[in-house]
């Protein structure tokens, strides 16, 4: 057993392995870095160059294809205004609130479906119905229902984002190890204990996956709601700028929103890696016994 726990010896310069390996480890590491980062950088430069080219040659109307440099300039100007950040905050509020409510609904319904056949039978047909519904199109309905304020946007976000946590909770709760259930049964665990100690933790990786998607959807929902009818929020800024044919401003708002969203998703990822630290564990190989 001691052989299993011994740390792997670090290979340094002058190590015998260095002589054996045809390509030294350091060079290999360098090659890895190059092959990892060169392609996306190349793609980025290519895309920006293409946009610049389209803008300079004016193959498309200049008004809809501002040069990337102009957009960058506009973004710099936008960032210095409190205007951008105040409206961004409005959108984030709607998105985050929608995310919280939507996830709560999704997870609770998912748990209900996962543990109770009755709830599963009652809810499932509607789940399928709602899934196939173009929920984005509900935004005008919510505006009609709740007016031009933030609540209609929150509701749009809820409607769009509750689904991934719901379906992932259902799938996650069903994805248990049958031997683990047998073990719990042999220990005479109650239904609650089976849920609390086996099914729920087992479902967490899936649930968190659903939450990450829900976050994207919630912000999307808030912006769709604002595009429908709003006086504040990033969506309304985009709407106004587009109406004025200020495409550089439109792209600027979109990019700023993307950057902030990226930060939020990064945070979600960070939380995810800490809460469900066992996510990437290799599935144990199980030999199936026919009995």
């Amino acid at each position: 057993m001691s052989t299993q726990t011994e740390p792997i010896q670090p290979t340094g310069v002058g190590d015998d392995l260095m002589v054996v390996a045809r390509i030294p480890f350091r060079t290999r590491a360098r090659i890895w870095v190059l092959t990892r980062f060169i392609p996306p950088i190349f793609m980025f430069i290519f895309a920006i160059g293409l946009l610049e080219l389209i803008s300079v040659t004016e193959v498309l109307p200049a008004i809809v294809t501002p040069s990337p440099l102009t957009v960058l300039e506009t973004m710099g100007r936008q960032a210095t205004t409190s205007f951008l950040w105040e409206n961004m905050w409005v959108t984030l509020q709607e998105g985050l609130l929608g995310f919280l409510i939507g996830s709560a609904i999704g997870i609770s319904l998912g748990v209900g479906v996962g543990v109770s056949t009755f709830i599963a039978r009652a809810v499932y047909p509607f789940v399928v119905l709602i899934q196939s519904m173009p929920r984005v199109a509900l935004a005008p309905v919510f505006v009609a229902l709740l007016g031009f304020g933030q609540s209609a946007k929150v509701l749009t976000a809820v409607a769009i984002c509750f689904f991934p946590p719901l379906i992932n909770t259902i799938v996650g709760l069903r994805n248990f190890d049958s031997d683990a259930l047998l073990l719990m049964r042999s220990l005479r665990a109650s239904r609650w204990q089976v849920f609390r100690k086996l099914l729920l933790p087992g479902a967490l990786p899936m649930i968190f996956g659903g939450l990450k998607t829900a976050m994207t959807f919630a912000i999307l929902g808030a912006i769709v709601g604002e595009l429908t009818a709003a006086t504040e929020g990033i969506g309304s800024l985009i709407d106004i700028a587009a109406f004025q044919l200020r495409m550089d401003a439109v792209y600027g708002y979109i990019l700023w929103m993307s950057i902030v969203s990226l930060g939020i998703f990064g945070f979600m990822d960070w939380v995810d890696k800490r809460v469900v630290f066992w996510r990437d564990d290799a599935r144990k190989t199980r030999l199936t016994d026919q009995e």
């Binding site: 031997d179 683990a180 047998l182 042999s186 220990l187 665990a189 100690k197 066992w278 030999l287």
Partner: protein
């Protein structure tokens, strides 16, 4: 579990009487077990050995109250088994550890199901983890352990409840030859000390003989008991036992019972 007056020979912890089990697969019915009679004495180590489909795992689960019998009766400690009961602890081929729990918390699970673990419980779990040689890993998570180490944790978890009967379903079947042998020696040692009743299911004849006081050979179509052989070697048993001619002779006899020779 229903209370019933003691029956059978005194000292029999497990009594399987004329048990059969039918499974239905679609329209076809198939007989997993037929006419099985088995008595296991207190403190006895019994190996059930046989090919896939001989119903040995089914029989094991019946003793644990996890699978109902179609006909016949299983009694444990004089009581008819008709649901899961606290006298047994189960161990599977896969370690079946919970990846979100530390080694210690995995071992504590059976106690936790029963009551809020006390300081004594934690001390006991720690002692069991060190019994299987994993002191330094108490606070680690299963993913940081090799397959053999994970199965050691599973072994500690089986022992933590002080079960009257240990039911081991090919516990080391998924491990490599070396780890498997090392763990078998350890298991023989641990079991020998505790005077526990153990039922082991295995595909491996040498494993069955090395560990058991009695080897029960089982066959297929329908799943049934072909015969049994007493293993006279006293404990503790050393790894070198498998090289002795007596051991070789005994495995040969079991192989004959199984129709392999």
């Amino acid at each position: 579990m229903r209370r019933e007056p003691e029956r059978g020979v005194a000292g029999d912890v497990v009594e399987v009487r004329n048990v059969s089990k039918r499974f239905r697969k679609g329209d076809r019915e198939f007989l997993a077990l037929e006419g099985v009679d088995l008595r296991i004495r207190e403190g006895e180590f019994v190996s059930l050995v046989g090919p896939s489909g001989c119903g040995k795992s089914t029989l094991l689960r019946m003793i644990g109250g996890l699978t109902p019998t179609t006909t016949g009766q299983v009694s444990v400690e004089g009581h008819v088994v008709d649901e899961t009961h606290r006298d047994v602890a189960l161990m599977f081929q896969a370690p079946t550890l919970f990846p979100w729990r530390t080694v210690l918390d995995n071992v504590l699970l059976p106690l936790e199901i029963d009551h809020r673990p006390t300081k004594d419980d934690v001390a006991k779990a720690r002692a069991l983890v060190s019994l299987v040689g994993l002191d330094e890993f108490v606070e680690h998570h299963p993913r940081e352990l090799s397959g053999g180490m994970q199965q050691r944790v599973a072994l500690s978890r089986v022992l933590v409840n002080d079960p009257r009967i240990m039911l081991l379903d090919e516990p080391f079947g998924a491990l490599d030859e070396f780890t498997r042998e090392a763990l078998n020696v350890e298991l023989a040692d641990i079991v020998g000390r505790g005077k526990r009743t153990v039922v082991l299911v295995t595909h491996s004849v040498p494993e069955a003989v090395f560990l058991a006081d009695r080897v029960v050979a089982m066959g297929t179509n329908p799943g049934r008991i072909l015969g049994e052989i007493q293993v006279p070697f006293h404990r503790p048993r050393e790894a070198s036992l498998v090289r002795s001619s007596e051991f070789q002779d005994l495995t040969l006899e079991v192989r004959k019972l199984l129709g392999l020779e």
